[in-house]
């Protein structure tokens, strides 16, 4: 171990604290703004400490409904976003684990064709095929539905590849033993594979939940009506820098409520999150 002068340690701490200030400041300031009256926000500079409007602002936004977005309450927006994020996380894990199971533990004609068909979708993010995908949604009547928000985003190759990679490390003896004991494919899947995959599922869940929660382009396209918006899209609609009647205090409350759930998931499930992030990029 190399010794280190105390001065360098102090510098390291100072740089880290400065980094945290930069990282945390925009979020802290949003919180401060969300506890002020509209009048205080409109006259910069804003105080550095929270004001006394916490309950007034938060209850107004959560239960009152916000004018600019058609009177929809923030509660409704949170519900939509939660449904979308959970739907994407659960749906993606569900279809990926099944197809990875088929590709690793069965031999059947066209197996590799299917694998490549799934694999190539890595290269086709939604952003490069916006318009035609939108047309498919219109043709199928999926505009302004939860299915429309969720289903097109759940078929991607990353989760399938991750499960496939993990399944390949499971020793053949385990499968053999299960078969000798008379376990069929479903029994093997539920009693052995699923419990073994718990960590991978947890890690993927965190990553996918955040992916679903932070989507922008897709919900912008497939939701027209105000009460189907996700909270991120609604927030965009609430903000107008050009005109004076943006309800900034409510905007700030909405912004806080929009970033709090995914931040909580990242911080509380940090271990899975870090693991999922590093693994899914391998």
């Amino acid at each position: 171990m190399i010794g280190q002068s105390p001065l360098r340690t102090v510098i390291a701490h100072a740089v880290l604290i400065l980094g945290i200030l930069i990282v945390a400041f925009p979020i802290y300031y949003t919180f401060v703004a969300s506890t002020q009256t509209l009048q205080t926000i409109l006259r910069p500079p804003l105080p550095l400490l929270p004001g006394d409007q916490f309950w007034t602002n938060y209850s107004e936004a959560l239960f009152g409904g916000v004018g600019r977005i058609g009177g929809v309450s923030v509660g409704r927006l949170l519900l939509n976003t939660t449904v979308m994020a959970l739907g994407i996380a659960v749906g993606k894990i569900f279809i990926s684990i099944l197809s990875a199971y088929a590709i690793v533990f069965f031999r059947f004609p066209l197996r590799m064709v299917f694998f490549w068909l799934i694999f190539i979708t890595l290269m086709l993010p939604v952003e490069v095929r916006i318009l035609p995908t939108y047309k498919v949604m219109v043709d199928l009547g999926m505009i302004d539905t939860y299915a429309g928000l969720i289903i097109p985003l759940i078929a991607s190759a990353t989760a399938t590849l991750l499960f496939r990679q993990f399944f390949m490390t499971i020793p053949g003896e385990l499968v053999e033993a299960a078969r000798v004991d008379g376990a069929g494919p479903w029994r093997f899947f539920f009693d052995i594979l699923l419990p073994l995959s718990r960590t991978n599922i947890a890690a993927l869940f965190v990553i996918l939940f955040i992916y679903g929660w932070t989507q922008y382009l897709w919900p912008l396209l497939v939701t027209n009506s105000n009460d189907m918006n996700t909270i991120v899209i609604a927030l965009r609609k609430m903000v107008s820098f050009a005109d004076a009647d943006t309800q900034w205090h409510l905007v700030m409350v909405t912004a806080m409520l929009a970033i709090l759930p995914p931040i909580l998931i990242v911080v509380l499930m940090q271990r899975w999150f870090v693991r999922g992030l590093v693994d899914s990029e391998k």
């Binding site: 099944l98 086709l124 932070t214």
Partner: protein, 305 residues
């Protein structure tokens, strides 16, 4: 050919498998159906449409071959948007990676509070890019932003709503801010993989800390850095649509109109379908090249790592 290769490229003995004939098809069916309907069908449409041109009323369309591509690639607005995207992606990647590397190196040095620092540094990952953009715009908005107020106090005529350079600085700050946590985690992992014996040997030979970093640690981090460069470029190309849409809308003028924003704008706002489709296809080619580069890197890591 069968793939008895695992991720490390080691050949495994043939797998023990289940003998069922129809079950595997049922298992892949959900993912395959969704992939065909929402990926391959629209992608085919994009390819087909990129070679059609519609009349101004949208009633008839005729096959024009590669003419849309020639038109798009000769269009000064498109060339401008390529330039904007390059500047934006490079600046975002450099700022986000530089900050993250500095913080990761410092985090390696401290003993106390390591976990706390990490927790406090990773949360912007969970903030949607569009919201990150709006938070920064709130801070730097010329009429009510507190930091814009501070800049004016310093005598800087700050106005991202009118000045293109200011708008670009604001976008890069928001985009890079959001990406620091991701890069930080990967740099920390990369730094932990650097053999301590090498660093100690250099220290014994009398190399100072700065010299040790640039001659040993930094070169050994090259695979991580390169990987992050690709990931950050893809992030800046695609995931930042929300930032551009929410903060500047491509303006002022067209100074912040990125490629993805232009596809959206031409397709949904201006309704020039052929051009938008041709731009989509060009974007696909860019993503495919970047993914190919990334896989080459993965291959290298397997051979030398």
């Amino acid at each position: 050919m069968d793939d008895f290769l695992n991720s490390e490229g080691i050949t495994l003995s043939p797998r023990v498998v289940f003998p069922n004939k129809t079950l595997p098809y049922l298992l892949v069916a959900p993912q395959l159906a969704i992939t065909l309907i929402f990926f391959y069908w629209p992608t085919g449409q994009a390819l087909y449409q990129s070679m059609l041109r519609e009349d101004p009323f949208g009633l008839k369309s005729k096959f024009v071959g590669l003419a849309n591509f020639r038109k798009v690639l000769a269009d000064p607005a498109y060339l401008n948007s390529i330039k904007v995207t390059l500047v934006f992606s490079l600046a975002t990647a450099i700022v986000a990676m530089g900050m993250a590397l500095l913080l990761a190196v410092m985090a390696e040095k401290v003993v106390r509070g390591k976990g706390l620092y990490r927790t406090l540094l990773i949360w912007p990952y969970a903030v949607a890019p569009a919201i990150a953009g709006m938070l920064w715009l709130f801070l730097f908005n010329p009429s009510i932003g507190s930091l814009a107020y501070a800049l004016r106090g310093l005598g800087i005529a700050w106005d991202p709503l009118l000045n293109g350079n200011h708008a670009m600085i604001l976008l890069v700050s928001a985009a890079a801010w959001k990406q620091i946590s991701y890069n930080f985690l990967f740099f920390v992992a990369g730094l932990q993989a650097v053999p301590k014996t090498l660093i100690e040997a250099a220290a014994i030979d009398g190399a100072g800390e700065t010299k040790r970093f640039w001659t040993i640690v930094f070169p050994l981090l090259a695979p991580t850095t390169f990987f992050l460069l690709v990931v950050n470029t893809v992030y800046a190309l695609f995931d930042t649509f929300g930032i551009v849409h929410a903060v500047t809308g491509g303006g002022p003028g067209k100074t912040t109109e990125t490629l993805v924003y232009k596809v959206y704008n031409d397709g949904f706002v201006n309704l020039i379908l052929g051009d938008s489709a041709a731009q989509s296809v060009i974007l696909m080619i860019i993503v495919i090249s970047l993914t190919a580069i990334q896989f080459r890197y993965v291959e290298r890591k397997v051979h030398y790592g």
